[in-house]
């Protein structure tokens, strides 16, 4: 699947990925998109961990801004460093939404949200769907293209069904 091609047809997509190949898929997509400015929201990997992964996968980080919703829960962190905004926790939806909006306003082409399945550890279906609706609207208003990732699992079927109605296309890589 050519993610760029898919995004040229659908502005906001939900991508369902089997757990086994999850990280590889997200990194592959990021690599394909990183020639343009990308806002990468991480709910399960710290910025430091992502930097190691970007380096290993030869991803140019100049175009990537990360919103890290993990590190502040673990350690004392500033609100912002070069290339990264830190949000209190994956549970702070308003803070997360404000951070994304702040970044998207600066002409970012893509939003990668990693991941809704992690968000489901902390939230119920309804707030997650509402959050996706808000972020999708922000992306559309700022002419950005958004990819929401989730790990394929039976537990997430209701969330996938709810979020599926809010995006332009659902891609299930587990089929």
């Amino acid at each position: 699947m050519d993610i760029k091609k898919e995004l040229s047809k659908s502005q906001v997509m939900l991508v369902i990925v089997p757990a086994s190949g999850y990280d590889k898929v997200v990194i592959k997509h990021l690599k394909a998109l990183s020639s343009k400015p990308v806002c990468y929201v991480s709910l399960s990997k710290t910025y430091e961990s992502l930097k190691e992964s970007f380096k290993k996968n030869k991803i140019k980080t100049g175009n990537v801004v990360v919103i890290d919703a993990i590190s502040k829960s673990i350690r004392k962190m500033p609100d912002q460093t070069d290339g990264c905004y830190y949000v209190s926790s994956p549970n702070s939806l308003t803070e997360l939404e404000i951070a994304v909006l702040k970044v998207l306003r600066h002409g970012f082409e893509y939003l990668i949200f990693d991941s809704l399945s992690t968000m489901m550890f902390y939230q119920k279906n309804a707030p997650v769907a509402k959050f996706v609706a808000a972020l999708s609207n922000n992306a559309r208003q700022n002419n950005a293209k958004a990819l929401f990732y989730t790990v394929k699992s039976a537990e997430q079927s209701q969330m996938v069904s709810d979020v599926g109605t809010l995006v332009d296309k659902v891609i299930d890589l587990g089929k």
């Binding site: 399960s44 990997k45 710290t46 430091e48 961990s49 930097k51 190691e52 993990i70 590190s71 502040k72 829960s73 673990i74 350690r75 004392k76 209190s88 926790s89 994956p90 549970n91 550890f121 902390y122």
Partner: protein, 118 residues
Amino acid sequence: MAKTIMVVDDEPDIRDSVKTVLVKNGYKVITAVNGDDCLVKLKSAKPDLILLDIMMPGTPVRDVVPKIKGIKIAYLSVVRTGEAEKEALLKEKNIVDFIQKPFDINDLLKRVKKIVGA
């Protein structure tokens, strides 16, 4: 005397499976559903080791850990951290191990034995 382990995790499956294995291996186990619950239970218990999930709803571990005095803590982490970050976390007072989820239950048991003894 049996060593006491406190398992702090918001996922009931993890709490139950870890408890089952530890109890089977002769440990006394206390469970807590999050950091706040852990702090409440520590008022009446002093375990030899706390297995503490790093990401849970409620008070973040960043604020929970400094309130735990004189008890060894091993992080259980679904969160992927950088190597340097992991090393920094392990240098913090009381933190004795960093166990990445998903973990092999036998490996976890080995690590618990190494920290507190059988």
